[in-house]
């Protein structure tokens, strides 16, 4: 499986500010995803990060709020813009396509965000 790192691991931010989360993978991967996990709830897919093109967002998530970059096959960023306390959550980067079983997904350690 791929080794996935995320920065920062946690942060406390003020309302109205933005935070960029980085995801680095130790090998080239086909698919990269960003999820949100709120306390006691399941993982919710925010978007698929596409290399060289705009991200594909799930219903309820928009590019202005969650801009995503993916400049190459090993790196992606997620920005949480104009934050409010409702954005407090764990944000997880996930990758797929690393083992030949296309749909296996592996997760980074997560970024724990608290918005005051």
């Amino acid at each position: 499986s791929a080794v996935i790192s995320q920065k920062p691991s946690r942060d406390i931010c003020q309302r109205g500010t933005s935070l960029t989360i980085q995801c680095q993978v130790d090998s080239q991967v086909t698919m990269m995803f960003w999820y949100r996990q709120q306390p006691g709830q399941s993982l919710t897919l925010i978007a698929t990060a596409n290399q060289g093109s705009e991200a594909t967002y799930e219903s309820g998530f928009v590019i202005d709020k969650f801009p995503i970059s993916r400049p190459n096959l090993t790196f992606s960023t997620l920005t949480v813009s104009n934050m409010s306390p409702e954005d407090s959550s764990i944000y997880l980067c996930s990758v797929s396509g690393t083992t030949g079983l296309y749909n296996e997904q592996f997760f980074g350690p997560g970024t724990r965000l608290t918005v005051l």
Partner: protein
Amino acid sequence: QKEVEQDPGPLSVPEGAIVSLNCTYSNSAFQYFMWYRQYSRKGPELLMYTYSSGNKEDGRFTAQVDKSSKYISLFIRDSQPSDSATYLCAMGLNTGGFKTIFGAGTRLFVKA
């Protein structure tokens, strides 16, 4: 109705017990089924992965899929305190797009 239903627990068992974790789903088109383990303050870790109905065993873990009943299970034999974690089921399909749905997770506590 949610596409995937999973009892959030918590489930508390003594060390050495057999643990049964379950999920039901509503979409008969799901093609693959996974179980993840998530320790506190960590990302989910893939435990088991299967495409077909039946059982798949890996050490103390057995994943069971019953497509006719839309029901999947994870059994943990000889449970250990180190098994204490949240277990998430996940299932999905690949129809030109890529869709995986996760359960809410069951919190498991194994008492020494």
